[in-house]
């Protein structure tokens, strides 16, 4: 395997609420290698965004890192014993773009000012040099008329254009890892495709690693090398994209793939996984998916551990069974 850049080890994130402690992330371990695209998949509330925020040091009161570590090239960023994260990693080596480009930019600052802020901070450029670099960045993400666009405000840009600006800002420091938290969820389908294409292009040009957080399996299949599927704050299956789409091992992964609408099967009813994920105030002791799993048995009541398979790992004692075939159990 290639050089490991980011390493997450047994990460726990908890939120202190009035009702009690919500355990949003419960022991997530991940690695991202150089030039690799990792897809982090899961439904709303599965903890994928919180994991990403923890990687960027963006967890704030009432949230806290309650265990585990995040390391960048061996240097701990968050976790036990880390008082202050080393400077110049967040925002320079690791950058992030967010779900909603409409609110991700400061409405009262010009695009140029916001881009130059990153350029000044990370590249040390000033004045005209910073402005030139900002214009180059806009060009790099496919925004034409950059010189004029720099003096415009976010409200003069469309959603897709704003996400391009966000990407330009995120690559300003020539980072090695880009975390993209549902970068296309708020955009039209055609714009989605353009943004994803742009990300793929930048990746091959810059040798960028990407963590792509999404609930859209189609995006994962098109862009990612590896996938990690999250459920109820844990990773239930990881593996290479090809293998996982062909032979998903975990019943939840199987259910997700089965419930993806297909164009050539439009006469069928869309299949769904019945039930809802468990609340994380009092997380289940055993397999979190057990109540919704068609092949659950008695041993599913004990905690499931990620066990290596051929190309990845799966946390399920019934792994490999075609769970959703009628009469499989």
């Amino acid at each position: 395997m290639t050089e490991t850049l980011l390493e997450i080890d047994d990460l726990h994130v908890a939120f202190d609420t009035r009702a009690g402690v919500v355990q949003a992330v419960r022991g997530v371990s991940l690695t991202v290698g150089r030039g690799e695209t990792l897809g982090l998949v899961g439904e709303s509330g599965s903890g994928k965004s919180v994991t990403a925020q923890a990687m960027m040091g963006l967890i704030d009161v009432p949230g806290r890192i309650s265990g585990g570590t995040v390391r960048w090239c061996g240097t701990p960023l968050v976790g036990e014993g880390v008082r202050r994260a080393p400077r110049n990693i967040w925002g320079r080596e690791i950058t992030m773009i967010f779900q909603n480009p409409m609110t991700s930019l400061n409405p009262l600052m010009t695009i140029g000012a916001q881009l130059q802020e990153a350029v000044r901070l990370h590249l040390g450029l000033r004045g005209a040099a910073a402005r030139t670099r900002a214009a180059d960045l806009l060009n790099a993400v496919g925004i034409s008329g950059a010189a004029r666009r720099l003096d415009q405000y976010p409200h003069e840009f469309s959603g897709g254009m704003r996400q391009r600006v966000m990407i330009a800002m995120a690559i300003a420091s020539e980072p090695r890892l880009l975390i993209a938290d549902e970068p296309t969820t708020a955009l039209d389908v055609t714009i989605q495709a353009q943004i994803l294409e742009l990300l793929a292009e930048l990746q091959s040009q810059l040798g960028l690693s990407i963590i792509l957080i999404t609930h859209d399996l189609g995006i994962v299949a098109g862009l990612c090398h590896r996938v990690a599927v999250m459920y109820a704050g844990q990773i239930v299956e990881t593996g290479a994209v090809d293998t996982m789409f062909e032979q998903p091992a975990h019943p939840y992964t199987q259910g997700l793939i089965r419930s993806t609408p297909l164009l050539d099967a439009c006469d069928d009813r869309l299949v769904a996984i019945d039930g809802t994920p468990p609340g994380l105030l009092i997380p289940p002791a055993g397999c979190a998916f057990q109540p919704r799993c068609p092949v659950a048995t008695a041993p599913c009541g004990v905690p499931q551990v990620l066990t290596p398979t051929g190309t990845g790992a799966v946390a399920c004692c019934r792994a490999g069974i075609d769970a959703w075939k009628v009469g499989a159990a």
Binding site: M56, G91, L105, N106, E117, L121
Partner: protein, 306 residues
């Protein structure tokens, strides 16, 4: 922009005209000006002569036409009390009020921003609770009482500062603080609430993800974004100060500004001086309103000036 300012000036002129017309009607309805202005011992001949001298013997519409004509030329007649043009008195007293308001409100603005911002960093924390409690206290204390207490403590008991009057910087301290406390409390609460709002917005996450320090985020990003609501509330406080606070504070401290002069003019039945003062304040309020709109537009390009 130019068109907007011209249109607002026109609207403002209508407002000022409306205010002056109201003052005209009220001062003439409120009682017989002649009786108010002449001593009780004046004879009927003296009254008639005085009435003719200031034009009160004419029909009301002619009086109003003359009055309107005077207003346009900024001539409000002679102050009966000071025996010189009313506008001259206003222009002489106005700088004193401006000094008091600028010191008091300026101080309140400069103090409230850091106080509110620090409180907003940890909502519910010790600093926040202290700031909020003090602000409520500040809002709850009426200025006439506060002014008297300040005189009692700092002038009478401690003898640090003069009780009242005008002339040295020391004379300015107590009135300015008394004037500033209510706006300071309101500003601080407003900055705190707006900052908390702003810090929870997505663009702040973006700024943090960029690697900016919290200090820079506060200074460059959130501060600019609370400026528009802050500006509207400070415009409002400025107007309130000019047309209300100063009347109380200047009276308590004997500060020879427009507010104290207004009280004295009313007490003396000095019709023309009252009219000149009300006109000047209405004019300032209109100008402040236009300035606030223009500055808001300069800060937030999304604002449509219509």
């Amino acid at each position: 922009m130019i068109e907007f300012i011209l249109r607002r000036l026109f609207q403002g002129a209508l407002v000022v005209l409306g205010v002056t017309a109201t003052v005209f009607v009220v001062t003439r309805l409120a009682g017989d000006p002649v009786a108010l202005m002449l001593p009780l011992s004046a004879t009927a001949e003296q009254r008639a002569a005085f009435s003719a001298q200031i034009g009160l013997d004419q029909p009301i519409w002619i009086q109003f036409a003359r009055y309107a004509q005077d207003v346009v030329t900024l001539d409000f007649g002679d102050s009966l009390w000071q025996r010189r043009p009313a506008m001259e008195v206003v222009l002489e007293r106005l700088p004193n009020t401006a000094l008091l308001v600028a010191t008091g409100l300026g101080g309140a603005v400069l103090l409230s921003i850091p106080m509110g911002a620090v409180a907003a960093l940890r909502p519910g924390g010790l600093v926040d609770r202290l700031t909020t409690s003090l602000s409520l206290l500040g809002l709850a204390m009426p200025q006439f009482w506060l002014g008297l207490m300040a005189i009692m403590v700092f002038s009478v008991m401690l003898k640090w500062l003069p009780t009242s009057g005008f002339g040295t910087p020391a004379h300015l301290v107590l009135p300015a603080i008394t004037l500033a406390l209510t706006p300071l409390a309101r500003f601080t609460m407003m900055v705190r609430a707006a900052m908390i709002d702003e810090l929870n917005k997505q663009y702040v996450q973006t700024a943090r993800a960029k690697g900016l320090t919290l200090r820079r985020i506060l200074r460059v990003h959130t501060l600019r974004n609370i400026l528009v609501p802050f500006l509207s509330i400070s415009g409002w406080e400025l107007i309130t100060a000019l047309s209300g606070y100063t009347v109380v504070v200047e009276t308590v401290f004997g500060w020879p500004g427009l507010g104290l002069t207004a009280v004295q003019a009313i007490q003396r039945g000095d019709l023309f001086l009252v009219q000149a003062i009300v006109f000047s304040i209405a004019f300032m309020i209109v100008v402040i309103g236009i300035l606030m709109d223009v500055i808001s537009k300069l800060i937030d390009p999304r604002i449509e000036l219509n």
